[in-house]
Symmetry: C2
């Protein structure tokens, strides 16, 4: 990148916070959103980096999300292992940050605990959330519905969301074991990329509006995506609708789509995070679980299989050493967003 400009994480955080502040976000919302955007750039996850800012501003401008929301921790009583945060129509990020210390405390106290976030707009990857728990020495998974764009296995029409599932396990040295993936074969953005490039989709990604298999991106976008792994992935996607939608008293993917009537904005729904204390689960049993897990990771990597998130962690290590690189075009866009605020978006 001949025109690359290098920033520290802190400098990029300040820039994103300034943009969001100018657009009417309160400090709590702005800082939390900026943290996951900076983490995305730091980890070379461009799809969850500064690219997201315009979508966030559009959701606010259209009145779909509140930039001034103050999430509320709704204790289910001190004796409950469920922590609930009402995001009050703000973004998920500030709600998560409010809930995570309480979730961690409950997970340590009870061995296992859950955080339910309600009434949030959600644009972020789930890996920053499971990593917030692995950073605290806990294992965790996170899941949420999205928009009904995926047909159940054997079905003909969109119903399930791309429903991401993420899991994290703390490692003794270096970054955690983390995976974070959609329960559809492909992300909707990947189909969109094929459409723009005019290339056919791989077989098995999608069906058309008549429920027939298709490799035509246009037909796929008018039809439905397919779950990963056939009926097994479909079952996991359904489980996510149940646990992270219905059970926590929030929207399923279909209800989320009905609510906004379009996939043009980030969906509004809830989210479920479950945290486990390996220390509590292993108590009284032989061996330290964190040490024993390393043997499993070594056996995976030792046979040439890649642990998930390694590309991301390598980018992170580079960014921590050398800073985050943005192009001059990207910097120009940040400047424009700062200048124009909500006027920068349609």
């Amino acid at each position: 990148m001949s025109d690359a400009i290098t920033l520290t994480s802190d400098a990029l955080q300040d820039r994103v916070v300034a943009i969001l502040s100018k657009a009417g976000f309160n400090a709590q919302q702005g800082a939390a959103i900026a943290r996951v955007i900076v983490a995305g750039e730091r980890d070379a996850c461009k799809s969850h980096g500064i690219y997201r800012i315009e979508g966030i501003l559009r959701a606010v401008k259209a009145g779909k999300a509140r930039p001034d929301a103050v999430p509320v921790l709704e204790q289910q009583g001190d004796g409950s292992a469920i922590v609930r945060v009402d995001a009050k129509s703000g973004f998920s990020n500030a709600a998560f940050e409010l809930g995570v210390p309480v979730l961690a405390e409950r997970a340590r106290r009870f061995g296992i605990a859950a955080l339910a976030i309600n009434d949030c707009t959600h644009f972020a990857a789930l890996w920053p959330e499971v990593e917030a728990l692995t950073d605290r020495g806990l294992a965790a998974f996170a899941m949420c519905p999205s928009y009904s764009t995926v047909a159940p296995a054997g079905g003909t029409a969109p119903l399930l969301g791309t429903n991401p599932l993420a899991f994290g396990w703390p490692r003794l040295d270096g970054p955690p074991y983390v995976f974070d993936f959609a329960t559809s074969v492909a992300a909707r953005g990947e189909i969109e990329l094929h459409r723009r490039a005019g290339t056919p989709l791989p077989e098995g990604w999608a069906i058309d509006a008549d429920g027939q298999p298709t490799t035509d991106p246009e037909a796929a976008l008018a039809g439905a995506m397919l779950p990963f792994g056939g009926h097994k992935g479909s079952a996991i996607g359904t489980m996510i609708e149940l646990l992270a939608g219905v059970m926590i008293g929030d929207f399923t993917s279909r209800e989320a789509l009905d609510h906004l009537g379009t996939t043009a904005f980030a969906p509004r729904h809830g989210e479920l995070i479950v945290a486990f204390s390996p220390e509590a689960f292993a108590a009284g049993r032989p061996g330290n679980p964190l040490v024993r897990a390393e043997a499993l990771f070594e056996a995976i990597a030792g046979q040439g299989a890649r642990l998930p998130s390694q590309r991301r962690f390598a980018a992170r290590a580079r960014a921590e050493k050398d800073g985050i690189q943005l192009t001059s075009e990207e910097i120009g866009k940040l400047d424009r967003l700062l200048e124009l605020g909500l006027d920068a978006v349609a």
Copy 2:
């Protein structure tokens, strides 16, 4: 079945209990094992029915499992959401039955709770366990390692197990929403069936001992099975090794294979069950989660997609009405097992 013999569930339970008693099982082990075997026959899950008895006897005869084990409930303190049962080298079933009422009570009290079973021999499907929780109005998942016969995605050698994952959600009327599947593409038994039939495997099921894709069942059995859904299924299989092996202080699939040195017996390891109280999670939120879930199930079935376990529930309904049908050959085998006890097996 011209030679079909019809039994009630109770009559079959008595027969299986008598066989196990004769073979030296105590009443607690025998009744619990018989219940899951009868449930398998009732649901036309022949692979988990009376077919399993010989394997159970072989494990005992070889000294791999204790028929007289008395599982012990190890309370982690009354304030913990973790319930632990030490199976004391017996089978998983009696240990699960001992733990499940406590798990249910904790899940209701804390909203979420977990049951860790340690030091058990495991031959059973996981659906009887998640159904024991849906019967109590709880949602639940269950998972366990098995034997390292599955290569991680991108790898070349067996490491992960076929690691089953089951999930259940209680329904208002009729049987629950339940899935229970291996995280490998296919079960090892399916590859064995292809070997016996001399038919090639479908592509993508397995690799040979050199780590190359194969459709030859012999080569596959000497090599490794593949996880379902590529790197996503591989990640879920790894998560199961971590949570239901390492975290609960019990064997991973590799350690389980190292321990016995053969896959000829049911594996010895632990198991993790997590139970959720939908009532507690939905408290204060609009709508009854059990009612809302029905809309999701109707939307799945309404587009012609099958809910999991329907074939099993249909068989159950038939058995509850007409009894369980066994062939005269199967009855003969039960008679022989009762007569000979452990002498019936090698």
